[in-house]
């Protein structure tokens, strides 16, 4: 287990915070045109989705650490985005929660021996998954969505400044 992965996981909140810097609430709520190939969700929907997915991801990793090969159930992220008032939630608070939750859980991950990252859970759609994979997916998940956030920013004429 590469300890850098835990560092990357821990810094995901700051990365997300940086990616939406300087955007107004109008920018956050802007819905991309369907044919623009930059994703259909507003940036705000992406942010709240990342928070929801992260919190569920942490619940799963905790179960994999604490229980023996627990059953893990998938959920419908499109229905979450459509039913949980993503447009009315507070994006700043959502990033704050994701950030603090990752910082807290990184401390748990750092206490684990390498062997724990091979612990498994049984996902009803993906089959057997390991703690190490879950951690990697969490990191990649933010990166995946940030690529689209950057494209949306360009379309909004608000490119991210280095």
């Amino acid at each position: 287990m590469d300890p850098k992965l835990i560092d990357q996981y821990e810094s995901g909140g700051s990365k997300l915070q940086k990616a939406i810097t300087g955007l107004s609430s109008q920018d956050l709520l802007w819905v991309p045109p369907p044919d623009a190939q930059i994703g259909l969700w507003s940036i705000q929907q992406v942010v709240i989705h990342l928070m929801d997915a992260d919190l569920i991801g942490t619940n799963r990793m905790k179960s994999i650490i604490a229980e023996d090969h627990p059953t893990i159930l998938g959920y419908d992220e499109s229905k979450f985005a459509a039913s949980l008032f993503y447009e009315a939630q507070n994006a700043e608070s959502a990033i704050g929660l994701l950030d603090l939750n990752r910082r807290q859980f990184a401390k748990v991950l750092r206490k684990l021996p390498d062997s724990s990252f091979s612990r498994t859970g049984q996902h009803n759609e993906r089959g057997s998954i390991t703690l190490g994979q879950c951690l990697q997916w969490r990191i990649e998940h933010i990166d995946h969505h940030l690529n689209f956030v950057f494209k949306k920013r360009e379309k909004l004429a608000k490119p991210l400044k280095e």
């Binding site: 929801d52 959920y75 039913s83 939630q89 929660l97």
Partner: protein, 162 residues
Amino acid sequence: MDRKLIDDFEAAGAKLRRVIGGLEKEHLLWVPPPGAGIGRWTIQQVVLHLMDDELIWTARMKMMIAEDNPQILGFDESKFAARLHSEDQDAELAVRILDINRRLFAAVLRKLPDSAFARTGRHNDLGVITLGQSVQWTNEHLDHHSLYIVMKRDRLGKPLKD
């Protein structure tokens, strides 16, 4: 649906912060003697348990709102408390996570029509449960544990001041 339940739900983070106010690390990590009738967990374990439980119940409630009668799986809270290194965590950070999570989710609950609180999930241990029950249980759960924290404080000679 009594909307005051949502106010109580939202205010619980502040309540928990108050209940552990003024305690030092040694108090948070003090293990109550068996047979004292004040619970076996340290105050820190209780706080981390509340955060873990909270995040799991929020995910369940989101599923009940977004999906139709979703399946919900129980988890082993004793194994969570024993294996997630709660003694090395930061209780104050856990309270902040719980607090922000409740504030964010209270905003979602307030947007729902009364009828949504009758939405259901199928829990493998509890049977059919509703969203309204889940809000109420989450509130009662925190109150239940707060009561034991207050008893532990008395025993530590650090009673909660009004």
